[in-house]
């Protein structure tokens, strides 16, 4: 009797497993370079563009005070930068051809500013600071010496304020 030939046995069923790796934390970093430019700058604010002195009896009012000015100074400068605020008149107080010497104009101040006498030849320091900062709500009150020797008239002069932040 012829025997049928049958298929071979199935292959061995050994199964291999890959060892599980420990899952470590992953990290990625990136750098960002930051720069900030801080330039020197100066900002001056006056509470009024003009001051006026009312007429008065020199015997009763030897010095006429104007309404106080409020002065704000903001500057950015080097750490040791010398910040100055000065005033300079363009000439004497004039009414037509009649002068009143500008040196008759003086001022007093509150904290942060310095009192002084106006000049038409050299800038006079009103305030000085070191470095950057805000100096706000400073007070300056002008006064005009009153005299019987003044000719009658309306006198005017222009005072230039200069704020410097190096």
């Amino acid at each position: 009797m012829t025997k049928a030939v049958w298929s071979a046995a199935a292959a061995a069923a050994t199964v291999l497993f890959v060892a599980s790796p420990v899952l470590a934390q992953s990290v990625d970093t990136k750098t960002l370079n930051v720069s900030a430019t801080v330039s020197a700058r100066a900002k001056l604010t006056l509470s009024a563009a003009s001051v006026s002195f009312a007429d008065a009896d020199p015997d009763l009012t030897p010095s006429i005070a104007a309404t106080p000015l409020t002065v704000d100074v903001k500057t950015r400068t080097g750490n040791a930068g010398n910040v100055t605020l000065t005033v300079l008149a363009d000439g004497d107080l004039m009414s037509g051809s009649d002068p009143i010497a500008i040196s008759n104009l003086t001022w007093t101040t509150g904290a942060g500013l310095s009192a002084g006498t106006m000049s038409k030849t050299a800038a006079v320091t009103l305030g000085s600071w070191t470095g950057s900062g805000n100096h706000n709500n400073m007070s300056q009150t002008y006064a005009l010496a009153n005299s019987w020797t003044y000719a009658v008239g309306s006198y005017a002069a222009v005072v230039t304020y200069t704020l410097t932040a190096p």
Binding site: F17, P21, L23, T31, N33, S35, A36, R76, G78
Partner: protein, 152 residues
């Protein structure tokens, strides 16, 4: 008497094991390596925006299931211009994109920029702002920020 006929085998089977190792992975991309804040009048511009607009950030992470993926930032110190410094807390930001948060820069601790759960790709923007003050000494200030993305 008739002998029975053997039946031929119809199938042959074998097995194999398929496995995939999926490791943790983190890839962080910033749209720029440099950010600059221009000079401005502190009265007019109290918060200076960075030139070029917001920074775009893409955080890709493969992490263990349900783990916390974190993106943080820290400065290497204050903003410096020679001997003059400005505290890095002068730099703050707002953000867009799911998972991204606002914050204030620090040079002493990592500050959270974004956080997410598990694997994925997350994109957003960070709008950096510089607090502009009159009290700063003039100069060009610099600092380096390190962003760290971690996928546990």
């Amino acid at each position: 008497m008739i002998a029975a006929t053997p039946v031929a085998a119809q199938t042959q089977t074998t097995t194999a094991t398929i496995s995939a190792n999926v490791g943790t992975l983190a890839t962080l991309t910033l749209s720029s390596a440099n950010v600059s804040f221009p000079d401005a009048d502190p009265d007019a511009v109290p918060q200076v925006a960075a030139l070029g607009g917001p920074l775009s950030i893409t955080a890709k992470a493969r992490a263990t299931r349900l783990s916390q993926v974190l993106l943080t930032v820290q400065a290497n110190g204050p903003l410096r211009s020679g001997l003059d410094t400005i505290a890095v807390s002068a730099i703050t930001w707002t953000s867009t994109g799911a998972g991204f948060v606002a914050g204030t820069l620090s040079s002493t601790t990592d500050v959270l920029v974004g956080s997410w759960t598990g694997s994925g790709t997350r994109s957003g923007t960070q709008d950096l702002m510089f607090q502009n003050l009159w009290t700063y000494a003039s100069g060009t200030y610099t600092a380096t920020l390190t962003y760290t993305l971690s996928a546990p």
